[in-house]
Subunit: 365 residues, 2 copies
């Protein structure tokens, strides 16, 4: 088996970069894309798996870095539930080092930062990503500076500080994004997950696990803010299709929370329904990769839906009755399912643990 | 392969009971023990594993119930760290449905309650076990009534209620134990994990996983309150030894928190050092299975150690720097390691997530 070759390229002007470049976007201002330019040739997917690694690095033959940092991320369980004639595959992404799916991306992002030997990495986050990067940075011996909105859940902030991160509280999620890059020092690297293509390579392992478990789904329903989870999952299917293991993509359904609905506004019309601010993870007003998100939805015959707090609460209650202790952002996806017709076997990643958002849980129940 | 046969027996008067009995202790007042009386005969341990089940039910050929409830418990990752010439195997038991090792025992305890068709199950807990039982009971369609001390972490209480449990707040941990059984109705079943032998059968799967991963340890270091984790782990090794896969037990080291040290007091002398009340999971003054705990320590040439808050905080800080986000109770085991001489490759289960105890984390860091 020969080495997998990667290509780091501007999404707009096609300029190419070396994998160890410190840039977070192209000189033209556009997002960078990372793709496999030459796949390994194997008969079976299982030939690509290092089964001794019981974490996402078992798929390192398809990842841009090897020997990465691990805190036990990946290999999350799938719980199957039959609800109203649908076979739902809940992928429990909150079984993870810091309690959210962001750990997969952070494992990759921080392993890259380590590979290019930076001392300080900078991230902006509504909470979960900041905590994931804080933990991995600490484990990897790298300093982390995290910009977050001041009203991020208390638990998430306390844990970031416990992992030794410098936490910078901002007035809004947008201010956090802006300051993270405007205050970047010469020796720092910006690993913002809304921009970073390496983050998506971490995320794609979620789909490799689904495939390794021989689970077949007809759709993916996913709460979407920056789209890093959605695009990572897409990258996973893309790799499998490119290698000939799959014929086509499932339908991708994006769920946004009323109040901040840039993707819905783009595809349909300006959302004028109820507010969904309980989903504190869905706060990005200008997703840098919005073009790609729209493309995925259209290409896979999916759609974008919006849910409000009432629907999120109803979904939370149903999930807790099933013993699935999620945060409101994760419940948004299950709330979205109720509005989708035709899907029979959806994959719903449950993105983060409700244990981190106890203040909200107390209000809801 | 023939079916595995189990034997439910009083630890004192040897009276035998049927596996589907509703009793939580013998009529003589002593704890019941559950053991395998006839093991399946196989060449390799892997012949006993149902590899399609990616949760603890993969070992159901060695468990007292089959087709149990699953919320994705088990198959927790192991993170290896070399610290001061020791190869430490941290088993991340907080990768679990409700964030603690108790989910393994609750999966078994609630599956048993379902098998004997009870409507309400009753548990007493300092927090983690109550939450685990609440989630599984809800998933299994069984009502849960949980007795806890009023000062259990807020997060744990809120989540129990979110899972639809009836939470009864008591003045102390002891009052919780007493009321749980004195207020037991005719149709209720008491599944208290400090007494229940089925809980231990769930816990033993942790060691089956270690063995399946071919990890060899010379010792186990474990924070101990009722001893349900310790005795469950012991059961796991016992099964493996009985089937001829192992020769001998590793050394069992018990870590208690200053202030509540019944096991230390029994083996050494009355503890007169500092208080360790940050470890809110270590609060049991009269462990029903203390005789068995002492026997395990003595039989395996282990010991019992006590740590105080200062040592717990130092251990917490070290663990968070490694990216391991544990609760203070889990950190107690790592604090204990510093006081043990001679062990080279200890297994340290990290029992619960720090995400549930944010109020404490804020004070510590």
């Amino acid at each position: 088996m020969r080495d997998t070759l990667f290509e780091l390229k501007c999404s707009k002007c096609n300029r190419e970069f070396n994998l160890v470049v410190k840039k977070w976007r192209c000189d033209c201002g556009s997002v960078l894309n990372l793709k496999i330019s030459e796949y390994p040739v194997v008969e079976n997917f299982s030939d690509l798996i290092d089964k001794n690694q019981r974490n996402l690095w078992r798929y390192e033959s398809l990842l841009p870095f090897k020997n990465g940092i691990t805190l036990g991320e990946g290999l999350t369980p799938v719980v199957k539930k039959k609800v109203e004639n649908k076979n739902i595959f809940f992928k429990l992404e909150y079984f993870s080092p810091t309690g959210s799916f962001k750990d997969r991306g952070a494992a990759m992002g921080v392993s890259r930062a380590k590979a290019i030997r930076v001392k300080t990495m900078v991230e902006d986050s509504s909470g979960n990503a900041g905590l994931a990067y804080s933990a991995y940075a600490s484990a990897g011996g790298i300093r982390a500076r995290i910009y977050i909105p001041f009203d991020a859940p208390i638990g998430k902030k306390a844990l970031m500080r416990a992992c030794n991160a410098e936490v910078v509280e901002c007035k809004t999620r947008e201010e956090a994004s802006e300051r993270a890059v405007s205050e970047l020092g010469d020796d720092d690297i910006y690993v913002g997950h809304t921009w970073d293509p390496f983050f998506l390579e971490g995320m794609k392992t979620e789909i490799f696990e689904i495939f390794e478990e021989k689970i077949v789904v007809d759709s993916v329903i996913i709460p979407t803010s920056s789209g890093s989870h959605l695009l990572g999952i897409y990258r996973g299917f893309e790799d499998l299709i490119q290698m000939g293991f799959f014929d086509d993509f499932p339908e991708f359904y994006v769920v946004q929370a009323g109040g901040i609905t840039p993707i819905y506004n783009r595809i349909h019309r300006k959302w004028d329904g109820g507010i969904g601010d309980l989903a504190d993870g869905l706060r990005i007003v200008n997703p840098p990769r919005i073009e790609q998100i729209v493309e995925v939805i259209e290409k896979t015959n999916g759609d974008v839906l919006v849910v409000d707090n009432e629907e999120i609460i109803a979904a939370m209650k149903e999930l807790y009755r099933m013993g699935l202790l999620v945060e409101p952002t994760s419940a948004a996806a299950y709330a979205g399912l109720k509005k989708i017709k035709g899907v029979k076997s959806p994959l719903i990643p449950l993105t983060g643990t409700g244990i981190k958002t106890v203040d909200k849980i107390q209000k809801i129940f």
